[in-house]
């Protein structure tokens, strides 16, 4: 070899930056209906192409095409649309509340509403989800009362979590929604463990673990894949690839030239890569994975390709690191818009009905917020008494905590 060139470090960059239009070709989008649907007992290696491709049902004109079309009835689709719209309206309303300082913090899931909604419809009651802070649509789909959610956001006296958790960090065992942790990816091995327990007890319930593209870099994600494969745990592992982890493009998390789904195949797990903004595709893929798990055929890894249309949180402004209008030309479009077009195409929906539903949901959210505020907000100080701070550290309060509460004097 001749005198070798000097080495240089490759640091991945997104194609789009503020003032420079994004080239989304890296998404490698396949035509709707072009991906075959293998039987659920397929050998994981057969899913290698699915893990690199992209399952899509709704084409650009809003028609459902291809083998993955779940053939959903009118009512389920209309419920799906309603849930997605309710999520989006709730998010928008809560951001305003945060700006008015009624909440200290909030995180929206703008643009990703289809994934949680459709997935929840594919699961059964009793299945346990291990969500991140961007899967509030799971709770919306399972119709958890908005008032309870707002009370948690306000940390007021009716907050089920007694004011202890950052807003959006819900915990609702009754709705199969595991308590959200601020630490990333910790819930993945926990989901696998829960699934293993279900298997040990000969139960029929399965688990569904969630993680963002950025957090897949955590060791807990890979540990989860290993344990899921080793014990063939009845679990669905969902990677929501919404392109951005705060200001870090998904390539920095390892998504450049290889899909996150392919990691599953590498770990011996059946894996799918799906258009996350396609309600029907999300539902179909979720059913496939749930059936596989419930038939003792082991875990499935699904990469949901979508776009984080809003900021990371109320403390973030994406226009600083990506083109402000990037969402307008994101190839997979808006999940609500696409499902609406499909419903209209099938004569099951109209613009008038849409506007009426929009107004109805807005009223429902405003009413829930007003009722929650009656129990107090962070501003007016009607938060759970500091005395409750000493409970639930242990099951029974040890004496050193009783003495410390005496010193505090509440």
């Amino acid at each position: 070899m001749s005198q070798s060139q000097p080495l240089s470090l490759h640091v991945p960059e997104p194609t789009g930056r503020p003032g420079c239009k994004t080239d989304f070709s890296y998404l490698d989008i396949h035509a709707a209906g072009s991906t075959p649907r293998p039987p659920v007992d397929v050998h994981y290696q057969e899913t290698a192409e699915l893990a690199a491709g992209m399952i899509r049902v709704l084409d650009d004109d809003g028609n459902a095409v291809g083998p993955w079309d779940p053939g959903l009835d009118r009512d389920t689709l209309r419920f799906g649309l309603r849930t997605m719209m309710k999520t989006r309206i709730f998010d928008a309303r809560m951001v305003i509340a945060q700006r008015q300082k009624k909440l200290s913090f909030y995180m929206t899931c703008l643009g990703e509403e289809a994934i949680g909604t459709a997935h929840a419809l594919a699961l059964r009651d009793g299945d346990m989800c291990f969500p991140t802070y961007r899967q509030q649509s799971l709770l919306m789909a399972r119709e958890y009362p908005l008032v309870d959610m707002v009370c948690q956001l306000l940390s007021n006296e009716a907050d089920p979590l007694k004011g202890r958790q950052l807003p959006v960090m819900y915990s609702v065992k009754a709705k199969g929604f595991f308590t959200i942790s601020g630490n990333l990816a910790t819930q993945i091995p926990q989901a696998v463990g829960w699934a293993m327990a279900s298997a040990i007890k000969g139960d029929t319930k399965i688990a569904s673990g969630w993680i963002g593209d950025g957090a897949t870099a955590e060791s807990d994600f890979h540990t989860g894949l290993t344990f899921a494969h080793v014990y063939q745990a009845p679990v669905i592992l969902n990677v929501v690839n919404n392109q951005w982890a705060i200001s870090t493009f998904q390539a920095i998390a390892g998504g450049e030239s290889v899909s996150f789904a392919s990691r599953g195949v590498g770990a011996g797990i059946a894996s799918l890569r799906v258009d996350g903004n396609d309600f029907l595709a999300v539902y179909a893929a979720s059913c496939w994975a749930a059936e596989r798990a419930r038939s003792n055929l082991g875990p499935t890894l699904i990469e949901w390709v979508t776009y984080r249309a809003g900021p990371h949180s109320t403390s973030d402004d994406p226009s600083r690191y990506r083109p402000a209008d990037e969402w307008t030309y994101f190839p997979l479009g808006d999940p609500i818009g696409r499902l609406r077009r499909h419903l209209v195409a099938r004569g099951w929906w109209s613009d008038a009905e849409h506007d009426a539903l929009q107004a109805e949901l807005e009223a429902e959210v405003v009413a829930a917020q007003k009722e929650a505020e009656r129990h107090g907000t962070l501003i007016d100080g009607r938060v759970p008494s500091a005395a409750s701070m000493f409970e639930d550290v242990y099951k029974d309060m040890p004496d050193h905590l009783r003495r410390q509460r005496q010193q505090l004097g509440v």
Binding site: I96, Q100, K101, S104, F105, P311, S315, D317, Q406, Q407
Partner: protein, 446 residues
């Protein structure tokens, strides 16, 4: 109608300053709840500020591009009902949650004390039989300051009327340690006063302030002359290996002579002190021992001997020690020396001495006058090589001609630079000076 003030919100992560990027409304505009009023920017994000209420814009908190502190008034609206701020245009509403000011004199017990009493000990109520004797485990010793001698059996309650007890509490005094002069050791107001007075004067002393503890401090910067003296003294002590030689001189004859000279010539020539006579003795002695009248430059390793005897006279002034120089002492008779000393001392004390009058000495004489002490270890006036120190005259019995006789004795404590003056030379020089002084006539004979 009331006024509603919207303050610059705290956008989290400890941001202190927020810049106004754009106003969406102008004074006079009507605004609806949730309508965006302004765009503001921190170093991380640009954020829209929605209105929490319906109302009309009265005043904007700042111009575009101006940065406002978090919590400062952003915008003022006129609203139905009371609003949340007094309508005065200028004053910004005080934070509502200021703790209500407690009336003067209400000083809440410091939390520290409450903390200290959190570990609760129940005392038996007076009527029920008092608590059984302390449990067998080691009794906790009392916390009071070093207790004065116990005046009553341990644990026995001091007898005192409620008024006395209340006053003791107010003064923070433990009655346990107050001596009671009343019947059965009852403590009266007078006893309390005595204790307080005694307490203030110190541990159990009488009630005057001779032995009062003093612990004031005052920092004085070492500057000016004081700084120079300190440096010279330090230089001398560090560079010069001092060898101090003390000799006793019988000045009875000298004093007698001085007395006769002053009696005869005192009027027109001025009174002589001992110093001019000593100077004469030194000048004469220097002739035989020139090494002593020299300066030593230890950098260049050169000793310079001088024929002229410029005698430095160490003089105490208000500003500190100064050494005016009697130039050519060899050419002065005692009266001329005396006059020159007086003139120089006066100039030095008034700070009018010229620079050359305070330098150039080849040999220095130092005396504390009546406070001369019996021995001293004078510090050589660097770069000179010797210094003659004069101690006080004292009458003492001396054996002379086989009998005891009272004589006037005076010590000379002199220091020499042992690098250039050997012990023998120093001793012989001082013995020579002593010789002149003990037979004063020789001072006036060449």
């Amino acid at each position: 109608m009331g006024q509603h003030v919207i303050k610059m919100p705290d956008l989290g992560e400890g941001i202190a300053e927020v810049e106004v990027v754009a106003w969406r409304v102008q004074p006079g505009d009507a605004v609806v709840e949730d309508q965006v009023l302004a765009d503001v920017m921190t170093d991380k994000a640009t954020v829209e500020i929605p209105s929490p209420v319906h109302g009309t814009v009265v005043a904007l908190g700042g111009k575009v591009g101006e940065s406002l502190a978090v919590g400062a008034e952003l915008i003022r609206l006129e609203v139905e009902g009371a609003g949340n701020a007094p309508s005065t245009a200028k004053a910004v509403a005080p934070a509502a949650d200021e703790p209500a000011d407690l009336p003067h004199g209400f000083v809440p017990e410091p939390a520290r004390v409450a903390e200290a009493t959190a570990s609760v000990a129940q005392t038996a109520p007076a009527v029920a039989p008092p608590a059984p004797p302390p449990s067998p485990s080691r009794p906790a010793p009392a916390r009071a300051p070093a207790p004065a001698p116990a005046l009553r059996a341990a644990g026995e309650k001091p007898l005192a009327a409620p008024a006395v007890r209340k006053r003791a509490w107010d003064l923070g005094i433990e009655l346990q340690y107050v001596a009671g002069s009343g019947p059965a050791g009852r403590i009266t107001h007078a006893d309390l006063d005595a204790h307080v007075a005694g307490h203030r004067a110190g541990r159990g002393a009488a009630s005057d302030t001779r032995y009062a503890e003093l612990d004031g401090e005052e920092a004085i910067p070492v500057i000016g002359l004081r700084r120079k003296i300190a440096e010279k003294m330090q230089l001398a002590k560090r560079q010069i290996p001092h060898f101090t030689y003390v000799e006793e001189v019988d000045v009875t004859e000298l004093e007698a002579l001085r007395g006769q000279l002053n009696a005869r010539y005192g009027e027109e020539r001025g009174k002589l002190t001992l110093l001019p006579l000593l100077m004469r003795a030194v000048v004469l002695a220097v002739r035989r021992f020139p090494d002593v009248n020299a300066r030593y430059d230890d950098q260049a390793n050169v000793v310079t001997r001088y024929q002229a005897v410029h005698l430095g006279i160490a003089t105490q002034t208000d500003a500190g020690l100064m050494v005016p120089v009697v130039r050519h002492a060899e050419a002065r008779d005692p009266w001329s020396s005396a006059a020159e000393i007086a003139r120089l001392a006066d100039a030095a004390r008034q700070g009018k001495a010229a620079r050359d009058e305070l330098s150039g000495s080849t040999l220095t004489i130092t005396s504390l006058g009546p406070l001369g002490g019996i021995v001293s270890t004078p510090v050589i006036n660097h770069p000179e090589v010797a210094i003659v120190g004069v101690n006080r005259i004292v009458d003492r019995p001396v054996v002379k001609h086989g009998g005891m006789v009272a004589r006037k004795l005076m010590n000379l404590s002199s220091s020499f630079d042992h690098r250039v003056i050997d012990g023998m030379v120093a001793a012989e020089f001082i013995q020579t000076v002593r010789g002149y002084l003990e037979s004063p006539a020789t001072l006036f004979v060449e």
